[in-house]
């Protein structure tokens, strides 16, 4: 293979690596309780929760920050 300067020309290509497999606990959002504060969206290290509060489980590593930071306890961490 060739690799001139090991430049990566495919932006965002870490998406090829599904870090969801790192997870032990899985966040589940109870939309009935959600007050749309955006904490989970802002604080997600993976950026895998969107503004509709859908979690992309392909990448969620299960850190639980979203559950901790939810002011109304709408996010539960469940065993995979």
């Amino acid at each position: 293979m060739t690799s001139t300067g090991a430049v990566v020309k495919k932006p965002g290509s870490t998406r090829n690596t599904k870090t969801g497999s790192w997870r032990t606990f899985k966040p589940i959002i109870d939309m009935d309780k959600c007050i749309d504060c955006e904490n989970c969206y802002l604080f997600c290290p993976e950026g895998c929760i969107n503004k509709e509060y859908e979690i992309d489980y392909d990448y969620c590593k299960g850190c639980g920050i979203c559950a901790t930071e939810c002011p109304v306890k709408a996010v539960k961490m469940e065993r995979e």
């Binding site: 690799s3 001139t4 300067g5 090991a6 932006p11």
Partner: protein, 383 residues
């Protein structure tokens, strides 16, 4: 063409000015300082439309150079000795990131003991960094090689940085006649830099300087190895084109009276001028001696050297550097790559003047060699 009388440092600065350079990050160091000063003045006087970055160290000079080059700018910098050594880490990175940077190195001894004078230990110590290395015999060559280097380094099949080496003081501070080409002619020759591999541009985002695990590192280095080999063709073509336009032809090596020579001296840089004069004298005395001047040290032109030296009885290799216990770098490379009867001579370290007597002694010693490696010009008295 304008014939000027100037130092090699002035010639090098003129070359950068002529080559449409965008960014100049430079940190002054003797004997390269006046290059930095001339360029600063060119920019201050509006003679040169470039960003002059007054960095706080040589390490940062090369780092700025990589950042700027990666953003699509043509870059020039200059350094010497301790400065080059401080850059060591970043030199490897510039080459590994395939940044086509051109740098002048005013060859000077490395500490300790401290010396500001000439030898070539500094650049030779960076021979494995992945930089193309070209050695100038005089101010004209220094100017021409800087201009040529942009065409070589920026070629998509090369993309390796280039170091133009000029002997400290002996060239950097000596005034002599130099042909300074017209701006338009050089501008046409070098055009403007168009990044062929990588560029930091939000329109086309890419990541430069990534992290490789053992699955990928070797390939990147192997590509550099191939690029260095490929650069030979590019250097050859650029030489040819340069010769047609500027009337000065260069090759990887210069054959000075070698065709029938029994003894051939191999050397790089400014000492070659003195050697040529001595060869003329010795030839008048009836001895067949020639000089192979090595212009391009990396890539190493094995075939070109061999074509010139293969019929000689003995080869004397001059090194202004030393690899402790095994002699100079050039001597060792000649021994390793060619099937010749070669002897090594360490000369001119730390600015020790290399005189015609030294060259005569080397020729004499080569005829009846007692040792593989000898130091020439050492003081005999005790202090």
């Amino acid at each position: 063409m304008v014939l000027k009388i100037a130092t090699a440092n002035r010639a090098v600065a003129e070359a950068a000015k002529l080559s449409n350079v965008n960014v100049i990050p430079v940190y002054p160091i003797t004997p390269a300082t006046s290059i930095a000063e001339y360029l600063a003045k060119f920019v201050a006087d509006g003679e040169m439309d470039a960003e002059y970055v007054r960095v706080e160290s040589e390490h940062s000079a090369m780092s700025v150079a990589i950042g700027a080059s990666s953003t699509g700018a043509r870059v020039f910098t200059a350094t010497s000795s301790q400065g080059l050594a401080l850059m060591h880490e970043v030199l490897f990175i510039a080459a590994g990131m395939r940044a086509p940077i051109v740098m002048a190195n005013a060859n000077r001894a490395l500490s300790a003991p401290l010396s500001i004078w000439n030898d070539q230990q500094d650049s030779i110590s960076e021979r494995d960094s992945g930089w193309i290395q070209i050695y100038a015999e005089n101010a004209q060559e220094a100017l021409d090689f800087v201009i040529q280097s942009y065409r070589i380094t920026e070629h998509p099949e090369v993309l390796l940085p280039a170091m133009v080496c000029l002997d400290g003081f002996i060239l950097t501070h000596t005034v002599e006649p130099v042909d300074v080409p017209e701006k338009e002619v050089v501008s046409d020759f070098v055009s403007t830099y168009k990044p062929a591999n990588a560029i930091l541009d939000p329109e086309n985002p890419m990541s430069i300087g990534t992290f490789t695990d053992p699955n990928y590192y070797m390939e990147a280095r192997h590509d550099m190895y191939n690029a260095m080999i490929n650069s030979k063709n590019i250097i050859r073509n650029v030489n040819k084109e340069f010769g047609e336009i500027f009337g000065r032809e260069y090759d990887f090596v210069e054959n000075y009276r070698c065709d029938d020579a029994e003894i051939i001296i191999v050397a790089m840089g400014s000492v070659c001028g003195t050697v040529k004069d001595v060869i003329d004298e010795i030839r008048r005395e009836g001895e067949k001696v020639g000089l192979l001047k090595l212009r391009v040290f990396r890539p190493f032109p094995t075939d070109e050297i061999n074509a010139v030296v293969k019929n000689a009885d003995k080869i004397a290799v001059l090194d202004k550097n030393v690899s402790f216990d095994i002699g100079g770098a050039l001597y060792n490379e000649i021994k390793a790559k060619l099937d010749v009867d070669a002897y090594g001579f360490i000369i001119g370290l730390g600015g020790r003047d290399v005189t015609p007597e030294h060259i005569r002694k080397i020729v004499k010693e080569t005829k009846k060699p007692e040792k593989d490696v000898q130091w020439i010009g050492l003081r005999e008295e005790e202090i």
